[in-house]
Amino acid sequence: MESVNSPANSTPRKTPLNALHRRLGAKMVNFGGWDMPVEYPSSGGLMAEHKAVRSGVGLFDVSHMGDIRIHTGKKPGGALEAVQHLTMNDASKLAIGQAQYSAMLYPKGTFVDDVIVHRLGEDDYLLVINAGTREKDVTWVKQNTAKFDCVVEDLSDAYTQLAIQGPRGVDSLRKLTDANLDVVKNYWFTHGTVCGLKNMLIARTGYTGEDGFEIYVPSDVATSERVWNAVIEAGKEFGIVPCGLGARNTLRLESKMALYGHEISEAINVWEAGLERYCKMEKGDFTGRAALERARTAGVQRMLVGLEMMERGIAREGYRCMNESGEVIGVVTSGSPSPTLGKNIALAYVPPAMSELGTPVYVEIRSQRCKAQVVATPFYKRLRKASAN
């Protein structure tokens, strides 16, 4: 038995919770250069972790994510100008305490990385970036903000970032903080005392398609483990389990959230990825805008669609897609069984002519053609309560 998807072996980096994950007996995997838990047999494994997040609450160590702060230089306004230049969404629309999904683009309109931009203060922003692209992103931000009056700080190693995800996440976290979580709406954040630690960033964000929070605490091992254990204790009555990257991936896939290196990359542009609602062409110039304007006029050659397997078989990243006459027309970017839906689902790039709902697409699985069809996405959408809107 040998895993086809087994990761490359290098000297991986560790989060402050690495020893704790190993004590819990987590299966570890190299993810983007990080030694991370992929699943916890003690939680019941990936499926059980996934279901806990959809129905109760799960806890993820996402400290491998990076954090870049861009704040004011000599005069106010420079940080906003820099962020507007760097990212495709309109950061000028953010209130203090609000966050937005966005992306940094190359001049050709493709992805440096997707980011969450938080407005911390008057002219003060925090960009949360992906683990595998940390160094590249920090260099990119420094180079491309040099002409702006702002200060760039790489805070990636300063925080342990925990994601408390699921409908009972709010109830779990409530027990550990003085912050009024009920007034924190989706994609907003606040600061409050968490486990006795003053002024911690508490954001109602996540990568699971479920309600939940991401908290940022000091990255020393003792504090990180103390907070982790406190969250587990607080969530016990709601069935909390530690969750690994395996469940994180199936949860984000069901919700059609892009993963860098899969749905988005330096070879894929914003229109192809279907992320136009986060790209504000009218906000003024930004890196990648001119190329996107041209690409829009030229028309897209491929589009990201959701697939559901109609025949037995699981589509995986890199598998080829064909039309009914057997011509290769596209490629799968992510694929997996969906624990929530009980179906095998995938995301794939196909030509616009093949993107209509119901279009048959054949996925080549170990030299066999398996029938799939284009379906509506996201595959899973939570029912939102008014308070979480």
């Binding site: 038995m1 895993s3 499926m47 997996s336 069984p337 170990r366």
Partner: protein, 133 residues
């Protein structure tokens, strides 16, 4: 879970139980544990020739595809089609109900060159040590 002493084992974590010239093949408890929840099994049809060391089946968990290699040469006489509807049997009963195929062995004696249970157990312990290093 113990490793049956009457079975033989490969470094790729398959087991084979030879009775006369028929061998039953599956994956070990260590293998199913490494894979996680098994959700899909692809099996060869009866009559398929197996070549020792070559892949003949794939077992998929939610997160990955694993190729399964033939522990010996032979020809498939029966595939465990019950796994198509209950692939999780590989997790719950890897050394029993989770068997993959029965094969008519070309040279039943070659099975003896594989690891016995004690050797395999030592091999797996070594693997576990590497993983926790």
């Amino acid at each position: 879970m113990g490793y049956p002493t009457e079975y033989r084992y490969t470094k790729d974590h398959e087991w084979i139980e030879a009775k006369g010239d028929v061998g039953t093949i599956g994956i070990t408890d260590y293998a199913q544990h490494e894979l996680g929840d098994v959700v899909f099994v692809e099996l060869p049809a009866a009559g398929t020739k197996l070549e020792a060391g070559k892949t003949f089946s794939s077992v998929e968990s939610v997160k990955a595809v694993s190729e399964i290699y033939a522990p010996a040469n032979g020809q498939v006489v029966e595939a465990n089609t019950a796994l198509q509807n209950k692939p999780e049997t590989i997790n719950t009963d890897p050394h029993g109900g989770g068997w993959l195929v029965k094969v008519k062995l070309s040279k039943p004696a070659e099975v003896n060159s594989l690891m016995d249970a004690a050797a395999y157990e030592a091999y797996v312990e070594e693997k576990k040590k590497e993983a926790s290093a």
